[in-house]
């Protein structure tokens, strides 16, 4: 424990000395995030310096082994570092699907060569990754992967289409589920493959949502040649890797506090509720639900930390949190009235309210629909018989 305190003091001092003042201001919008990549777009010198300094210490991925570009910290030290970063108001130096999704999969399933090759680049923010799971006809049934991947002796040949690929148009590499055995049962013929988005035959097309522009793309593979050593884990056992990552993703989403911060919505809308008694009642009920949900989030985090959360608990968090978030934005729209319907005006900041409202409708679809989550709870917690 004494060592931990020493570490805390040193981390605090280092952050004090190395985190630029600009990087201690709260993030204002999406564009303030640093995503790295081959041709990184830095918004400021401070942003660049901050990422590079953190990467140099391995602190973009503090708990990864040093040999792969990580900080080599213990879980306890990692926690202390995060606490100190939070205390200093330091921004996340690097947003990255490589860090949050691919990294853990490589650490668990990658060959030594793959780890050495890919992890350090991720840690340094040199390669930006995207995720190719969903397909146009798959929806909730993620394992119904149709993208073909044929063994052509000295390479794989990939043909097919992915959808909902976040930032595919900005990513350098993709990790993706492909079908390597069309004859095998659904879950048994899938592999987890990596390739460069510059490979001939790869193209992307952004998806326009009802809320407006989005980071999502359709991604097309037309005779894409992939080197043989770029499959992670065993061929035809990619579903294991995918499941492992999905678990990670669900925890992440359920930890995102989609249900809100626990601040009272009614307090924020008070002025507008004065002459709207029915809406006031709805908001009061919502506040009860949101504050109660917040307690469950806290409990979930505490239980996670203590390693005693039920493995299906993230499903409840995701279900309840996303439904609550949708309800929140319905109420915000109702309180905003016709003013909140403006779609383009400056007054409405380009339709911030209605676009956010519409965007929340995807919360209960992406990352496993509400129906999927309820099914998981029914099966794995309530142990109701399968159909």
């Amino acid at each position: 424990m004494a060592d931990l305190e020493t570490f805390r003091r040193e981390a605090r001092a280092w952050l004090e000395a190395n985190c630029p003042a600009e990087m201690r201001e709260p993030v204002r919008d999406e564009s303030d995030y640093c995503w790295g990549g081959r041709n990184p777009l830095f918004k400021s010198d401070a942003q660049k310096a901050w990422m590079e300094r953190m990467a140099a210490r391995g602190w973009t991925v503090p708990d990864w082994p040093r040999e792969y570009g990580g900080g080599g910290l213990s879980p306890a030290e990692t926690k202390v570092l995060r606490q100190e970063m939070a205390a200093a108001g330091a921004r996340n130096p690097l947003m990255s699907f490589g860090i949050s999704m691919l990294g853990p999969a490589l650490l668990k399933y990658g060959t030594e060569a793959q780890k050495k090759r890919f992890l350090p680049e991720i840690a340094r923010g040199e390669i930006r990754w995207c995720q190719g799971y969903s397909e146009p006809n798959a929806g909730s049934d993620l394992a119904s992967v149709a993208t073909k991947c044929e063994d052509r002796g000295d390479h794989w040949l990939v043909n097919g289409q992915k959808v909902w690929t976040s930032y595919a148009d900005k990513a350098d590499w993709i990790f993706c589920l492909v079908r390597t055995d069309p004859e095998a049962p659904k879950h048994k013929g899938i592999s987890f493959i990596l390739f460069d988005m510059r490979t001939p035959g790869v193209s992307t097309k952004p998806i326009l949502l009802i809320s407006g522009n989005s980071p999502f793309c359709e991604t097309f593979f037309d005779d894409v040649k992939v080197p043989k050593d770029q499959v992670v884990g065993e061929v035809n056992k990619g579903w294991d890797v995918a499941k492992y990552l999905l678990g990670h993703e669900r925890e992440m989403i359920s930890g995102m506090g989609l249900g809100g911060t626990g601040e009272s919505l009614g307090a924020a809308l008070a002025e507008r509720l004065k002459d709207d008694p029915i809406l006031r009642a709805d908001v009061a009920r919502f506040d009860v639900d949101a504050m109660a949900f917040r307690a469950m989030s806290e409990r979930f985090i505490d239980e996670l930390k203590a390693g005693r959360a039920h493995p299906a608990q993230p499903s409840i968090m995701k279900y309840a949190g996303t439904e609550l978030n949708k309800a929140r934005h319905e109420l915000i729209m109702a309180a905003g009235g016709s003013g909140a319907l403006e779609w383009e005006s400056e007054r409405s900041k380009g339709g911030k309210a209605p676009r956010e409202w519409l965007r929340t409708k995807a919360n209960s679809i992406e990352g496993g629909t509400s129906e999927i989550q309820l099914g998981i709870v029914a099966k794995h917690i309530l142990e109701l018989p399968g159909t």
Partner: protein
């Protein structure tokens, strides 16, 4: 009167359904005018066709060249408009404003253009972001032979292309409705694109001078006229909501019959079946309530106010449920602009706000019942 459509009404419905599906379709109207970023938000050619079809004259007396029909018939057309998200001035011009001008010289002045599908007329009531017609702050002071209007209005649907506005203002002795033409000095109009690509407007009246002739009905007695106008508009909006909700449901039920997941049609999943059946029930209830309200309105019955509020609240809830279930059951593609279901969600939201939302009308029902 039995609470279903008469043969004549059913015929009108068939006509309107066929016409709107052919001429008022999402591809031909909604998307076209949205994607060209049209400042009016609707097609004037279609508005003329509405005139040719006789739709614009449904609520105009036969003596004035109209069809002399009632609110049920207006609702029939609006339900089809709702199904196709057809952008047009029908609700505000041919329903609300026509009701406002009934039996006045202003009617003589504007009805011909409305009948022809040439004139666009808008209603300027709301002043804040919520519908609160009980508290009109815009003032109309006597000035010379006429009045001087000062104040603001917002959510003036089709206000960007209107030739004339029906404006509610406070004349100290009560509420008065005025007819104010586009281009009147001191009247500034800002067209505002809304979430559903329709155009609302914000109006600023900076000491706008109008003649005594501009008064619709009697000075200080506008409250009664406004009541009729809002009842007409609310019942009409309820019909449009029923149309929006019904089509959203129909598209969703179709999707449930086509889409496969986990090797089964998703329409086989019992949880979705029950939710769809519940939704159907809600929409049927909303449709019946709306028809009832329109019959009462046409009979000028005392209970009409109450039933109109019931209809607007219930159809708003049912339609909101329809679009929410619609997007959720469509899954990811329901979120894309490429599919139509999301457009229904946007339109539903705007119609729910128009003429008072479900909360406003539930509160009104409570107050009318003395609690």
């Amino acid at each position: 009167m039995p609470l279903y459509l008469t043969d004549d009404q059913a015929m009108l419905r068939d006509t309107a359904r066929e016409f709107m599906a052919a001429e008022g379709s999402i591809a031909k109207q909604y998307r076209k005018y949205r994607d060209m970023n049209c400042k009016d938000g609707f097609g004037h050619a279609l508005w003329k066709q509405f005139g040719e079809m006789g739709f614009t004259g449904i609520l105009i007396d036969e003596a004035d060249g109209g069809l002399g029909l009632g609110h049920v018939e207006a609702g029939i057309v609006l339900e089809e408009i709702g199904r196709n998200l057809t952008p047009s001035p029908f609700l505000v011009t041919a329903v609300a404003v026509v009701e406002a001008l009934r039996g006045t010289r202003h009617g003589e002045r504007w009805y011909p253009g409305i009948l022809a599908g040439e004139t666009v007329a808008a209603l300027a009531v709301d002043e804040g972001s919520k519908h609160r017609p009980e508290a009109i702050a815009m003032t109309a002071e006597r000035s010379g032979n006429g009045f001087r209007l000062s104040g603001r209005k917002q959510f003036v649907v089709q206000g960007a292309s209107a030739d004339v506005f029906v404006v509610a203002a406070d004349t100290t002795d009560g509420l008065t409705l005025f007819s104010v033409e586009k281009g009147t000095k001191g009247l500034e109009i800002e067209g505002v694109r809304l979430a559903d690509a329709s155009i609302g407007a914000r109006l600023e009246f900076d000491r706008v001078e109008v003649d005594a002739d501009a008064v619709i009905g009697e000075v200080g007695r506008g409250r009664d006229v406004l009541r009729r106008v809002l009842n007409a508009g609310r019942a009409g909006a309820a019909s449009e909501l029923v149309g929006v909700g019904s089509q959203a449901m129909a598209m969703t039920v179709d999707y449930l019959k086509q889409r496969k997941q986990f090797g089964r049609l998703i329409g086989e999943f019992q949880a979705l079946q029950h939710r769809a059946a519940h939704l159907y029930s809600e929409l049927e209830i909303a449709r019946a309530a709306t028809l009832k309200a329109q019959q009462l309105l046409s009979e000028d019955a005392e209970e009409a106010d109450m039933m109109v509020s019931v209809a607007k609240a219930k159809s708003g809830q049912a339609s909101a449920l329809a679009v929410q279930e619609g997007v959720q059951m469509h899954g990811g593609i329901g979120m894309t602009d490429e599919y139509d279901i999301g457009l229904y969600m946007k339109r539903d939201r705007v119609l729910n706000e128009l003429f008072g939302d479900a909360s406003y009308h539930a509160d009104k029902v409570a107050r009318l019942n003395g609690y």
